[in-house]
Symmetry: D2
Subunit: 432 residues, 4 copies
C-alpha cells in the first residue's frame, strides 16, 4: 500500500524538515519543467477545451501560488518578479476550473513569452529555497504547511497540463506527438479474474483528512454485500467488442441522460479513437497508433463505463468496495513517475487485483457525496474539495499521468459523468 | 404507516378485483377531471416551462395511455376516438420529460378543443369500464396490470399538472388564482424538536419492487451513525431569517455549483417569493398571499436546502435516515386528497416526527443511485425509474399535491438539484 | 391608382369629418372582429413565432392604443375598462416586434379570457364613437389625427394577425383550416409578358409623407437605365421548375449569406410547401391543398427571390422601377377586402402589368434606406418607420391580407431578407 | 487621383512584364514579412475574434494561394513544400471569413512553427520568381493574371492581419504594443470646412471592373441633389463631445437595430477607448495612449457613425456623393506604405477635401448593393465580391493599414453595420 502522505505528518527536526521540504519542492518543480521540455514556445500557447488552460498558464500559475502564498507573506524583502503577474496568473474566481482572467483570455497571452515564464519559475524557485534555508524554527511550521499545499497543487497541475496538451495536439490536424515513446516490451495479457469479498461491515476513508484531503475523511463504517471485483481493468479489445456489437446504438444499455448525450454528440467509440483506412487507431501522447487490444481502454465517460458494464452483465464497483480491496493491493501500475504516458497492458505477477493504482482512473458507481460526519470547513477556500460534492462521480486509483503520491487507497478523484478528457477507464464488479 | 400499495398485490377473486379496479380507475380519473374543473378552455392551453405541458395535454395523454395500452390491445372491436390522437398525445421519445411531439408544439394545440378532450376522456372511461366488466378471468390479470400502470401514471400526472399550472398562472402578470381557498383554521406552531436514533445496521427499501417501483428495491442493509432528525419541516419564518441574514450572498454556505447558479440566476429567495411594498408575498394556487412564517418553506432547490442547512449548523438527512424514522411515523400531513393546495403549518399532535408524508417533498443528501443488488430491467421501458439514476437527488415524503398512495416510507422521488418548480422543502438532521 | 389616403388630408367640415371618421373607425374595428370570428377561445391563444403574438393580443393591443392615446387624454371622465390592461397590452419596448411584456409571456395570458377581450373592444368602441360625436370643433383635429393613427395601426395588425395565425395553425400537426374557402372560378393563366420603360430621370416617393408614412417621402428624382418589368408575379409552376432543377442546391445562384442560411436551415422549397405522397402540397388559411401551378408563389425569403431571378436570367426590380410602372397600373389584385385569403392566379384583362397591388408583397433589390432629403423626426416615436432603415429590404405592392388603403404605388413595406412568414413573392425585371 | 491599378492593364512587352511582376510580387511579399517582423513565435498564434485568424495563418494562407493557383498548375516539376499544407492552409469553405479548417482550429496550430512557415514562404517565393523568369511568352499572360490575383489577395490579408493583431494584443491584459511609434511631428488641426457640390447627373463606378473588382462596376449615372461634404473626418475631440453629451444613452439618435445592439453590448464609446484614472485612453498598435482630440475617430460601427451624424445635425454621405468629390481629390492621407499605424490628424495643405484616402475607412449611408447593370459572374468563385451584396454597408477611402493600391476613388469596401474591428471612421455630409 502506497503511503507517501505519511511523511508529511511525521515530526522531523527543523533541519530535517527543511531538507526534506526543499527536496520535495525541487522534485515537484523539476518534474513540471521536465514535462514542459518537449513543448515549443508555440505549444505552450494552445488551449483546445473551454475549461482547460495552456501549458504556459499551468507553468506560471503554479509559480504564482508559491509567490503569493509563501514568498509575499513569509519572505521579508521578497520582490515579486513582475507585479503584473500577481493578477495575470491568479485563480480566485467563482467558477470551478475557471480563473480570474476569463478562460478564453488565457490562450491570448503571447506575452509574457514562454522563456520569460521559465525565468519567473527560476526566480521563485530560488526564493523559496532561500526562504526554506533561512526561516527560523518558529516560522517553519507555517511555511512548511504552505509549501506542502503548493507542492500538491503543482502535482495536480502536472496531470491537468498533460491532459490538456493531449487534447490540444489531437485538435491539430497534423496530430503531432508530444514526445517519442520509450522502448517497451510487450507483455502477455492475462485472463480476467475475479477477486471475491465476503461483505459485511468495513471501514473506509482517511483517518487524517487534513488540508487538501478534506473530502477523503472521516474514516467510517459501511455495510457491504458480498461482491467480486475484476482483477484488471477492461481492455481495449473487450471494449472493441462492445463497440462492434452495437453498444453505442442499443438504448437499453444506457441511462437516459447518457443516451441523450451520446446521441446528440454522436459518440461511436471512446474519445481519441479514430477509424482510418479500415482499422481503429487511437491518438496518444506518442501520436496516432494502431489500437492495442491488450491495453486498458481509456477516455470513456461515466455513461460509457456504466453502459459497458451493463452490456457485460456486470456493474461498476462502489467506492467502498474498491477501497476495501484496494487497501490490500500491493502492486503499483504505471504512474507519472514511471515515464510511460499511456495506459499499459498489465504485467501481472502474483495475486491480483492488479493496476489498482496507475494507468487509468477507474469510474465507480458512487456519486461524489460527503462521508458521514463530514463538514465543510469554514471560509471559502477554493482548494476545499467538499465544495464540489454534487453532480460528480467518484473515480479511484490514478492514471499514467498521476503523480505517485496522489494514488492512494483512500484517494477520491471526482469528475462530471459526461467528461472523457481525463485518462478514465473501467474496472468491473459483480454481486457475489 | 400508509400501505396503500398492498391492495395491488393481494389476490382477490375475479369479481372483487373487477370491482376494486373499476372503483380505483373511476376515482383516479375523476380526480383528474376535478382538478381540471377550475380551468377555462384557455387555461388548459398555457405552458410556461420548457419541459412542462399544458393541462390539456395531461388530460389527453393520460387518456391516450389507457387507449393504447389497455383498449387497443385488449378490447376486441374497440374503435379509437380519433385516430390522429394516437400520435398526437403519445410519449415515446428519447428525452425525459419530452414527448413525441416536440415540447413547444404541445402549447399550440388549440385544436382539439378542451371540450373535445373531455369527450375523449369520457369515451375512453366508458370503454375501460366496459372492458373491466366483460373481460373473462383468463384475461383479467393482464388487463388489471395494465390498468394499474395507467392509474399510477394518471396520479403522477395529477401532481405534474398542478405544478405546471401554478407556474403558468404565476407567469401571468395578473397572477390569477387557480381556485378559492377552503376555510382553514390557523394552528399554533410547535417548537422544532429533534428525534434521535441510535444508528447501527438498518434495513431500507421496498421488498416487492414491482413495475412502477423498480427504483425502491431491493430491501437492503445500511449502516447508520447515530443521528437526530427534525420533528418538522423548516418553516418560512426560519427560512426568512436565512434570507434576511444574507444567506443568498454568503458564498461560504454554498457548494460551488449552487453558488454559480444562484449568482447567474440572481436568486434572492425561493421561487414564488416576491417583495412587494415592503413585505414578502408568495404566489400560491390561491393567488398572492402574505408570507406566513408558520408554513413550511417550499419551492427551494437542493442547493438552497443544502445552503440553509449549513447556515443552520445542521445538514440534510440521508434517505436511509429519513426512511428509518419515516417508517415509524403514524401521522399523515396534507396530501392531494386533503384538498388544500399549499403546505400547511403543522397541527402536531402526539409524538413526532410530523408531516413526514405530505405538504412538501423533503430533499435528502442522497444522490439518486441504485440500491445494492438493483438491476435495470431488460428493454427500454420509459417507465423504468432506474434509467434516471444519475444527476438527480432523492426526495422523500410527498407534497400537498401528491396522491395519497404515492406517499410511502419507501417512496423515492428524484429531481435535479437545480429545480424549484415542485413543492420541495427541507427537513434538517444532525449527527448525534 | 388607389388613392385611399387622400381623404385623410382633405378638409371636410366638422360634421362630415366626424361622420367619416366614425365610419372608418367602425369599418376598421369591425374588420378585425370579423377576422377573429373563425377563431375559438383557444385559437386566440396560440403563438408559434418568437416575434409574433397571439390573436388575443392583437385584439387587445389595438384596443389599448385607442384607449391610451385617444380616450384617456381626450375623453373627459373616461374610465378604463380594467386598469391592469393599461400595462398588459402596451407596446413601449425597445425591441421591434416586441412588447412591454416579454414576448413569451403573451401566449400565457389565459386570463383575461377571449370573451373579456371582446367586451374590452366593445367598451372602447362605444367610448370612441361617443367621443367623436361629442368632441367640439376645437378639439376635433387632434382627436381625428389620433384616431387615424389608431386606424392605420389596427389595419397593420390585421395583416400581422392573419400571418401569425397561419403559422400557428400550420404548427399544429392536425393542420386545421382557418376557414372554409369561398367559391372561386378558375382563371386561364396568361403567358408572362414584359412591360418596357425607356429609363431616364423619374420621380418617386410620396409628396405628403405625414405621420405613419414618414418613410415614403420626400418625393425625389432618380435616374433609371432602360428596363423591362414582368407583367405578372412568378407562379408556383415556374418556381417548381426552379426547385426541380436543383435551385436549392446550386450554390452559384445564391448570395453568400443566403446560401449559408438555406443550407443551415435545410430549405428545399418555400415555407408551407410540403412533399406528401409523391406530390407537393401547400398549407393555406384554407388548410392543406395541392400546389396550384398557376398561383403566384409566396412565402419566399429575399434570398430565394434573388436566387430564383438569377436562375431565370433576370433580376429583381429596384423600387424606383417598380413604382414608376406601378403608378401607371390601374387594376387591383386580391387584397384583404376581397375576402380571398390566398394569392390567386391572375384574371388579367386589358394591358399589364397586373396584380401590382394585392396577392403578394413583391421583393425588390432595394435595401430599405432613406430617400434623399429624408430626416428622422425628433423624438422616439415607435411608429416612425425611419428607425428601421437598416438591415431590411423593400417590398412593394401588398398581399391578399393587406388592407386596401395600405396598397399604394408609393407604399414601402420592409422586411429582413431572411423572413418567409409574410405573403412575399417575386416579380422579375431585366435590363433593356 | 491614385491610379495604381492601371499598370495591370497596360500591355508591356514580355520581359518588362516579367520584371514588373517580379518586382510587385517581391514588394507585396516583403511587406507582409516586414509587418510580421515585430511578432514573436507566440504572437503569431493569437486569435481573439471568432472570424479572425492568427498572423501565422495569414502568412501561410497567402503563400498557399500562390502555391496552389500558380505553382502547382503552371510550374512543371514543382514540389509542394509540405503536402499537408495544401489542406491545412486552404480557404474553400462556404462561410465568408471562414476556412476549410474550422475557425477555432486555426489558433491551435502550434505546429508547424512560425519558423517553418517563414521557410514555407521563402520556398514559394523562390519558386514563383523562378517561374516568372522561366515562363515563355505563351504562358506568361495566364501566370501574370494569377500572380496579380495572389498579390491583391496578399495585400488584403496585410490589412486583416494588422486588424486582428491589434484586437489580440488589446485582449491581453498587459496591452503590449505591436511596435514602437516612429517620430512624428504634431500638426495644427484645421477647422472643419464644407465642400459643396451642385448635384445633378454624375457618373460613378469603375469602367474596367475585372477580377477582384467586379463589385466596382459598371460605371453608371446617378442623380444627386445638391450637397456638401466635410473637408475632414470627424475627430476624436468632436466624438468625445457626443460621448460626453450622452449620445450613447439618447435613444432618439439611434436606429432601432443600433440602439438594441448598443444597449445589449453596453457600448459607451468606440472600441479601444478606455476610461482610466479619470481620462480616456485608447489602445493603438503602439500600445495605450491618451486620447488625442485632433486625430480622426476610428473603430466605430455604422450604427455609431449614423447616430453621431444625427446628433451633429448632419448625415453620412452616399457613396455616389463621396466618389464624386473623391475623384477630384489630389492628396493622400496615411496609408499602409506610410508606416504610421494609426489615423493621424490632418496636415491639410491647399484645398480640401483632405484625407479621403487613408487614415480611416469612411462609412457611407449606402447599402452594399449591385450597381445598375451588374451581373454576378458565373461559377462559385469565392473572390467575387458580388456574393456579399446584402446585409453590408459601403465604406470608402482606405485606412492607415490599407495598401496604397487598394485606395482608389472607385474602391468599394463593405462591412456589416455592427462591426467595429476595422479602422472605420466618419466623414459628414449635408443637403445643400
Amino acid at each position: 500500500m502506497p503511503d507517501s502522505h505519511i511523511a508529511k505528518h511525521a515530526q522531523p527536526s527543523g533541519d530535517a524538515l527543511r531538507q526534506s521540504l526543499a527536496t520535495r519542492f525541487q522534485k515537484a518543480r523539476g518534474r513540471t519543467a521536465e514535462l514542459a521540455a518537449p513543448l515549443s514556445p508555440e505549444d505552450l500557447m494552445v488551449q483546445s477545451v473551454p475549461d482547460g488552460a495552456p501549458a504556459k498558464w499551468h507553468l506560471a500559475h503554479t509559480t504564482w501560488l508559491f509567490e503569493t502564498t509563501v514568498l509575499v507573506p513569509d519572505s521579508p524583502g521578497y520582490r515579486p518578479f513582475d507585479s503584473a503577474f500577481l493578477d495575470l496568473f491568479a485563480a480566485r474566481s467563482d467558477r470551478f476550473g475557471n480563473h480570474q482572467l476569463p478562460s478564453p483570455t488565457l490562450r491570448l497571452l503571447s506575452r509574457p513569452s514562454g522563456a520569460e515564464v521559465m525565468r519567473y519559475r527560476d526566480h521563485v524557485n530560488a526564493a523559496v529555497l532561500h526562504l526554506l534555508a533561512q526561516v527560523d524554527d518558529a516560522g517553519l511550521a507555517e511555511v512548511a504547511d504552505r509549501v506542502e499545499v503548493g507542492i500538491a497543487h503543482e502535482r495536480r497541475h502536472q496531470e491537468r497540463m498533460l491532459t490538456h496538451i493531449k487534447h490540444a495536439f489531437w485538435s491539430n490536424p497534423l496530430r503531432p506527438a508530444y514526445e517519442q515513446p520509450p522502448q517497451v516490451y510487450p507483455t502477455a495479457p492475462q485472463p480476467q479474474d475475479w477477486i471475491a469479498h465476503e461483505g459485511g461491515l468495513v471501514e473506509i476513508g482517511r483517518a487524517d483528512a487534513g488540508p487538501g484531503f478534506d473530502h477523503e475523511g472521516p474514516r467510517h463504517r459501511v455495510y457491504l454485500n458480498p461482491f467480486r471485483l475484476a482483477s484488471q481493468p477492461v481492455s481495449c479489445g473487450e471494449y472493441l467488442t462492445f463497440v462492434e456489437e452495437g453498444g453505442y446504438s442499443n438504448r437499453a444499455l444506457w441511462l437516459a441522460d447518457g443516451w441523450e448525450l451520446a446521441r446528440s454528440e454522436n459518440w461511436q467509440a471512446p474519445l481519441y479513437w479514430e477509424w482510418r483506412d479500415g482499422a481503429w487507431q487511437i491518438f496518444t501522447l506518442y501520436g496516432m497508433r494502431p489500437l492495442d487490444p491488450a491495453e486498458p481502454v481509456c477516455h470513456v465517460s461515466w455513461y460509457e463505463a456504466d453502459a459497458f458494464a451493463r452490456w457485460a452483465g456486470k456493474r461498476l464497483p462502489s467506492e467502498a468496495e474498491w477501497e476495501t480491496l484496494g487497501a490490500r493491493c500491493e502492486s503499483m501500475g504505471n504512474l507519472l513517475g514511471t515515464g510511460y504516458r499511456h495506459p499499459r497492458a498489465c504485467p501481472c505477477h502474483g495475486e491480483g487485483p492488479w493496476q489498482m493504482f496507475g494507468d487509468i482512473w477507474e469510474w465507480t458507481l458512487s456519486p461524489f457525496a460527503p462521508y458521514p460526519g463530514y463538514r465543510l470547513p469554514d471560509g471559502v477556500d477554493e482548494a476545499v474539495h467538499g465544495r464540489f460534492m454534487i453532480n460528480r462521480m467518484v473515480l479511484r486509483g490514478g492514471s499514467c499521468v498521476t503523480p505517485f503520491d496522489h494514488a492512494n487507497p483512500t484517494t477520491r478523484h471526482y469528475l462530471r459523468p459526461d467528461t472523457r478528457l481525463s485518462f478514465t477507464g473501467i474496472r468491473l464488479a459483480e454481486d457475489a
